[in-house]
Every structure is written in structure tokens, then in C-alpha cells.
């Protein structure tokens, strides 16, 4: 199977804190790959590294065999036209209507007439079920609707790769179900390659073809959903079952409580 993205021996640190230590990943073309892990381990950072918004300390990230950290800015912008990202907040432009938000990448990167742009925008909005909301401003949308509108914008240019940053975070069960269905349907219909960063275990197991679990700066488990479910790694099982204590401790590292409460009298 051909890989769209290959990450080799990647290390990355920020503000003196090591986020990734020598990790390697493969994103297969045409498949949905989930990157999971506890909050705060830098899952979004991984997407930003793939998009070239951050530069690794060492290692390489290749998109179709071309090194992203080595690219010049102009080439990076050309490559970004083949990828798209759904941000956690939706990141809709607040001074434009939903229609103009979705038309934005088309107006920026194509020379389509306004009539054609209108047709494309309506098709994209129809795909996410928001054709009737084209005239609304982003502030008038619910959280789920904003994310669907952002998804329509993300697919406006028919990218090869789409990166989802916590697409299910803060969604009610209905919105979550709609998003799961949309991601799966779009992936199948448009033959997209998807990278989903999330910690919503149940949802991701239904849509992912391959899963990486990150923790403690490393990949602690990887495989198909079935292989992950059957993993004998205590860390993976703690994450999947949502156990409060385990290899990832409940307590943030601290000194002895007896010592802290009683001081030198103990």
C-alpha cells in the first residue's frame, strides 16, 4: 500500500519540553488513520508538523516522497493546496457568511467564474447538510453546524489529504453521529486520505483503518482497530478503557502528602 505521508525518527520540542522523541508513522493513501492519545501529548502538534506549520528538531516528514521541513515557502504553499485541515474550533472567518467562507479557497486558488463557484459551494454545503445555512454568519451556527461548515470549506478544493483536529470534541451525541457519518461518507466518496486526531475511542474505532496511540513522547501502540482492541499493552488498555489510574498515573508528580501536610512534625 502506497504511503501519502511518511514520518521517520521525528523529534520535536517546544519551550524546552520534549514533545516527540524519535517517532515514526505512516499514513496510507486512501485510508483513514487515527492518531489517539491522552490530552496534552501533542496530537494537534503532529498535524501542524505534517502541514509544515512547525519544523521538527530532527527526523523527516515526507508528503508524496517530498520532505516538508526542507521545502521552500513557495513550494510548501503549493503542496498545501493538496491538503486541508479541519480545526478544532472550525476556524471559520467571522466576518464572512458561510457561503463566502466556503467560496474563499476557490476564489483564492482558482479562476472559476462566480456562477461556477456558486455551484461548487452549493454542492459542498449539500454534502454536509447546510445548503439552507449558506447566508448565515459563523456566529449564528451551533458548534456542530460550524464544524460541518468548516468541513465543507476543507473539501472545497477537493484535497488529497484532510486532517481532522479533534472533530468530535465538545459535540452532542447527534452532532457526533453526523460528523462520524460525514467523515466516513466523504472519505469513501472522494477517495480521500484522512488523518483523525482524537481521544474519542468509540467513534474512532468505527471509522479508522489504522490507529496510532501516542503517549509518553512515543508511539505506544499501532495497528488496525481490532489489533488495538486486543493489544496486551497496559498503557493502551488504560487508554481504551478510560481507567483513572494505571501506567498514566492519576496524580501529577508530587512529594509525599504526609510530609506536605505535617511538615517537619511528621
Amino acid at each position: 500500500m502506497e504511503n501519502l505521508i511518511e514520518i521517520d525518527n521525528l523529534s520535536f520540542s517546544r519551550s524546552g519540553r520534549l514533545i516527540y522523541d524519535d517517532i515514526s508513522l505512516r499514513i496510507q493513501k486512501g485510508k483513514t488513520t487515527a492518531i489517539m492519545g491522552p490530552s496534552g501529548i501533542g496530537k494537534t502538534t503532529m498535524l501542524r508538523l505534517m502541514g509544515g506549520q512547525l519544523t521538527p528538531d530532527s527526523g523527516d516528514i515526507r508528503f508524496k516522497g517530498e520532505s516538508i521541513p526542507q521545502m521552500r515557502r513557495k513550494r510548501l504553499f503549493e503542496v498545501r493546496r493538496q491538503m486541508s485541515m479541519l480545526f478544532q474550533s472550525g476556524a471559520m472567518f467571522t466576518d464572512m457568511t458561510v457561503y463566502d467562507n466556503i467560496a474563499f479557497p476557490l476564489r483564492e486558488h482558482t479562476s472559476l467564474s462566480e456562477d461556477l463557484i456558486k455551484t461548487v459551494v452549493q454542492l459542498k454545503l449539500q454534502a454536509v447538510g447546510l445548503r439552507g445555512a449558506a447566508h448565515l454568519m459563523p456566529a449564528e451556527l451551533s458548534g456542530g453546524m460550524a464544524r460541518r461548515a468548516a468541513l465543507a470549506r476543507a473539501i472545497a478544493l477537493d484535497p488529497e489529504l484532510i486532517m481532522y483536529d479533534e472533530p468530535f470534541a465538545g459535540q452532542d451525541p447527534i452532532s457526533m453521529g453526523v460528523l462520524v457519518k460525514l467523515i466516513k461518507a466523504l472519505n469513501d466518496a472522494l477517495k480521500l486520505t484522512s488523518v483523525v486526531v482524537t481521544h474519542d475511542v468509540t467513534e474512532v474505532l468505527t471509522i479508522a483503518d489504522y490507529i496510532y496511540i501516542l503517549a509518553e513522547k512515543k508511539v505506544i501502540g499501532s495497528g488496525t482497530p481490532e489489533e488495538i482492541k486486543n493489544s496486551d499493552s497496559p498503557l493502551v488498555q488504560q487508554f481504551l478503557q478510560g481507567l483513572a489510574d494505571g501506567p498514566v498515573p492519576f496524580h501529577y508528580p508530587a512529594g509525599d502528602i504526609k510530609q506536605a501536610l505535617l511538615g517537619s512534625n511528621s
Binding site: G51, Q53, F77, E78, R81, M83, T94, H109
Partner: protein, 259 residues
Amino acid sequence: MNWLAGIGAVTIGKLSSFGRATLMLFGAIIAKPQFIKNVPLTIKQIYAVGVQSLLIIVVSGLFIGMVMALQGYTILVGYGAEGSLGPMVALSLLRELGPVVTALLFAGRAGSALTAEIGLMKATEQLSSLEMMAVDPLRRIIAPRFWAGMISMPMLALIFSAVGILGGHVVGVDWLGVDSGSYWSIMQSTVDWDKDVVNGIIKSAVFAFVIVWIATYKGYDSIPTSEGISKATTETVVYSSLAVLGLDFVLTALMFGIE
């Protein structure tokens, strides 16, 4: 030796911040112009930073002109020189108060708004999403705001001075009885186009450059939290105001101080 290391760290921090600000400015304005895309964006920003600042500029200009006339009259009348009220008001406004007060008001009204807007765009990932859509935020967001500020502020300073001169007329001529003919004719013969009007415009263009640079950089470089944006907005107003006052002295010395 900790204090020495502290001074070094602060100096390196400031220099690196200045370097980032310069790179941002070059990225925004030293690029192939895209007139068809940028002109409508710049016009929209001229409305936001220029037209929407008009009210505060007009009201301030009017009152400052009126106060100048009142204060000037009480001094000049003692020497029987109240006929020179017109040039006194006009020269003060065109050379100093017009550019400087407009710049201070512009920093508070439009500069703070620019910083907060760009900072919030960063916090809500709109700048990141532009980058991921292969649209350069420096050219799409920063450049139109920069040019809008550069175009708007000299115009606002001229409007401020014009309204101030009219305010001076209301108080000096209509209220205190200075002769209208001498108010205008002595002003006309005293005010020099190059030395007074053009120098005032140059001053306000320099102030506009500094204010918009600080405001856009502070927004672009802000920490994307409510506290970070609040701090950046405050810094914009404080740094811009201090820069304007400091630069005003330098420019005044260059333009009028050395004969």
C-alpha cells in the same frame, strides 16, 4: 552575575522580537502586489481604521482648536496682537497638534482594535487556517491593514487640523470678536505649504508607519489567550504613544530645529 545574565536575556528577547517584527513587515509589504485582490481588502480596512475613527478625530480637533483660540486670545490680547490668533492656531495644529494628537487618538482607537482583531484571529485559529489553505496571512491580513493605516492617518491629521482651525474661528472670531479678515489673511500669509503643511503630513505618515507596525505585530505575535491579547492591546497603545512622542521630538528637530 545573575543580573548581568538577566540584562543579556532581556536584550536578546527584545532584539529577537524586533527581528520578528521586521520579518513580518517585510513579508507583508515587500511582496509582489496583488492589486485586484488587495485593493478591495484595503478599502474595507480604510473604512474600519479611517472612516470609523472620523468622529473622535473631528470632535477632538474641534475642541482642541477652540481651547487653543481661547488660550491664545487671553495671551495675545495683552500685547494687542489678537490678530495673530489665526496663524498661531493654524501653525500649532499643522506642525504639532494635528499629527501628534491624531496619532495618539489613532493608536488608542484603531491601533488597539487592530491588535485585538489580529490576536483573536490567531486565538480562533483563523490565521493557521489561512496558512493551511495556502494563503499567506501576512499578505491577506497584515498588508491591507498596514496600507489602510498609512493612507488613513495623514488624511485624519489634515481633517483634525482643518476642523481645529474652524474651531479656533468659532471661538476667536465669532465669540471673542477677533477680525475675521485678519484671522484668515495673516494665516494665509504666514503658513508655508512646504514647511508647515507638508512637514505635518510627513510627520503623520511616519507616526502611521510606527503605530500600524506595532499594532499589527503585537496582534500577530500575541499569546493566543484572553490574557495574552489583553496584554498585547495594552502594549500597542503604550508603545505606540511613547514612540509617537519620541519620534515627534526627533522629527521636529530635523524639520524646524536646525536652520
